[in-house]
């Protein structure tokens, strides 16, 4: 019980620190905090500057501002984007589902395929086919995801003209969306697959030389049986924690993929906000992404304690 409490407190502290950081950044950075909170291309008259300053509470003590900030967060109020003329929370929630549509399938297929292929590669590491696949995934592992996107887009959309060039949909039918999503999801899957592949391969290589595997072989079990019934389970445990941590990377990767494929998800939202220095949107997006990454970690923690009896019995 106390372990659960300790874990939970860690998550809560993490969230408080990150949210506080988000409060501090616009106020500590060089320049006028009002500009930092509103965004740079907002043009205001002198009277509205004073009005906005008091409305946003910038003339009050910092501590009161901080309490106000938390009040806003707890009511899902992430500020107002003057650049886009709408509340930040609304903009982000409208975009978020598209990014998730891109990230979640990639994460899942990448996770499943990566662990299986990685396990096979670790198990038969001397085989030349496995060597080739390891080299291939290592190369992908070392490539920035957006560069992979550029190459894929150039090859399949420009040259071969198989897939559409940009966006999430033309007509909005499911088949159309799937066609648009295919290439980005493929790249993201490769990206997540290569990470899981490398880890699982290392993990199986380590497990392979342990005694229980030798014992299973001595009992006369088939190779595949030893791998998938005995070794796989033990080698899989590190992956669960890493999958959650990876969620953050996949999400950041998805942002870049969206920029290259001109898809209207979080990535392009952040990119546009960056170009126009629309700070409220940038900060709101950061908060929402953090929230999602932290909850993914929490989920992995719960899952881990279910799956690993040694943790459960503690």
């Amino acid at each position: 019980m106390s372990l659960t409490a300790k874990r939970a407190s860690r998550y809560i502290i993490a969230l408080v620190i990150i949210f506080t950081l988000n409060f501090v950044i616009p106020r500590a950075m060089p320049g006028d905090p009002l500009t930092n909170l509103l965004g740079e291309d907002v043009i205001l008259t002198d009277s509205s500057v004073i009005e906005l300053r008091s409305e946003m509470g910038l003339d009050r003590p910092l501590f009161e501002q901080y309490l106000d900030y938390w009040h806003g967060i707890l009511h899902l109020d992430l500020g107002y984007s003057f650049h886009r003329h709408s509340p930040v929370a609304e903009i982000i929630f409208a975009r978020m589902k598209w990014t998730l549509l891109l990230a979640v399938p990639s994460l899942l297929t990448g996770g499943i395929l990566g662990t299986i292929l990685g396990a096979l590669a670790g198990w038969r590491s001397a085989n030349s086919c496995q060597k080739a696949s390891t080299a291939f995934f290592l190369a992908i592992y070392c490539t920035p995801p957006y560069f992979l996107c550029l190459l894929a887009l150039y090859l399949f959309s420009f040259k071969l003209d198989i897939f559409p060039l940009k966006g999430f949909y033309d007509t909005g039918s499911a088949a159309d969306i799937a066609l648009h999503l295919f290439l980005p999801v493929l790249v993201m899957t490769l990206f997540s697959l290569s990470r899981n592949y490398m880890i699982m391969r290392g993990s199986v290589l380590q497990e392979k030389s342990s005694l229980y595997a030798a014992f299973a072989r001595a009992k006369g079990l088939y190779d595949a049986e030893i791998l998938f019934r005995h070794v796989f389970k033990n080698a899989l445990l590190p992956i669960i924690t890493l999958l959650a941590m990876d969620f953050g990377f996949i999400l950041s990767g998805a942002l870049f993929v969206e920029i290259v494929f001109s898809m209207n998800g979080m990535g392009n939202l952040i990119y546009d906000a960056l170009l126009s220095r629309d700070y409220p949107v940038l900060q709101g997006s950061f908060l929402i992404i953090t929230l999602m990454v932290v909850s993914a970690n929490l989920l992995a923690d719960i899952l881990y304690s279910r799956l690993d009896p040694r943790v459960r019995w503690h």
Binding site: R10, I13, A14, I17, I18, L21, N22, I25, P30, N36, S125, A126, L138, Y141, C142, T143, P144, Y146, F147, L150, Y154, F158, R195, I199, G202, S203, Q206, S209, S210, L211, Y212, A214, F215, N234, A235, L237, P238, L242, M245, D246, G248, F249, L251, S252, I259, V260, I270, Y271, L274, L275, R277, Y279, L282, Q283, F286, I289, T290, V293, V294, R310
Partner: protein, 319 residues
């Protein structure tokens, strides 16, 4: 950031020798087990190490040539990277890799960009390694409350989505590679800290450390003269892998236009190709080579890091 399997403790399930009824036999079968295992392991790992060494040699050569390129860019580059020729030239005999929209020679740009890209990677990795080592040493050596607090902080840092945070902070500041390197260094130390901590936990129980403690040396003296040298071999591969992740992150952040536009790095080259129409118009030579350079450099660093880590693991197994 590059994840690693060593972060999580691998479960070690030892078959019980306890089934043997009498004491003598139990000991003998235990010894037998470990001896056969040792032989099979050393054979298997020798082959593995040999293979890894070949790979890491290739990595080392590539790595050195990139470093030479960064040091001697003035001598190696055929032109000044800011000099203007005819724009959009295809790769040819005059300009080996073609020219961009400003008419700059891409090969020269590429060679000069090595400097900034490598600088950011090294600076970030150096800082991350420094912070990670200190945190890991302190947490592992003092254990108890210090360990709880430091590892708690590490867990919190692990959860922060790093690239979005860097984007937010960098967007408020003037674009600069120094800031990008500093931010990455401040965020990327977590995995080093964990590895160093677990190694320190082992080292602190060893005889020579206990002897120093018994002789009355101060804690700091023991940490830096006894413990630190014995953790170096786990720090070094982590340092290489940090360079790799910092390079990829730098390329991504420059791609968003957060790098200094007056300096050239591989990431900014791709960014310019993307935003100034090189990609849309199909001028592949403009963005292909910087991308390949990033991949190649990261690949050679990762190869060396993996080979080192692998060797470390086999050494430990054989101990």
């Amino acid at each position: 950031m590059i994840p690693d399997a060593t972060l999580c403790a691998s479960p070690e399930i030892m078959p019980e020798a306890a089934e043997c009824p009498d004491e003598n036999k139990r000991q003998c079968c235990k010894r037998e087990y470990s001896r056969t295992e040792r032989i099979s392991m050393s054979l298997c790992s020798a082959r593995e190490v040999l293979r890894m060494q070949k790979m890491s040699l290739v990595g080392l050569l590539l790595f050195l040539s990139f470093v030479l390129m960064a040091v001697f860019s003035e001598e190696l580059a055929p032109f000044d990277p800011w000099m203007r020729f005819e724009p959009y030239l295809l790769p040819g005999s005059e300009h080996l890799l073609g020219t961009n929209d400003m008419g700059n020679d891409i090969l020269s740009e590429l060679i000069y960009s090595t400097r900034i890209s490598l600088f950011v990677g090294f600076a970030a990795a150096l800082m991350a390694t420094l912070i990670g080592t200190i945190v890991g040493l302190l947490a592992g050596y003092y254990k108890g409350m210090t360990d709880e607090i430091l590892m708690g902080i590490t867990d919190i840092f692990l959860m922060i989505p790093q690239i979005p945070l860097i984007i937010v902070i960098a967007s408020f500041l003037r674009p600069s590679f120094w800031i990008v390197a500093l931010l990455m260094g401040a965020l990327w130390w977590t995995s080093t800290a964990r590895v160093v901590r677990s190694r320190t936990l082992q080292v602190r129980e060893m005889g020579f450390v206990q002897a120093s403690r018994a002789l009355g040396f101060s804690d700091l003296h023991i940490i830096f003269t006894d413990v630190l040298p014995n953790t170096c071999h786990v720090i070094a591969p982590k340092f290489l892998l940090s360079i790799a992740s910092a390079m990829i992150a730098e390329a991504s952040i420059s791609f968003l236009g957060l790098g200094d536009p007056t300096m050239k790095s591989w990431g900014t080259m791709i960014n310019f190709a993307f935003t100034r129409g090189g990609f849309i118009n199909g001028y592949w030579w403009w963005y292909l080579t910087p991308g390949l350079c990033i991949t190649l450099f990261v690949l050679c660093v990762v190869l060396m890091g993996f080979a080192w880590e692998e060797q470390e693991r086999t050494n430990q197994r054989l101990e």
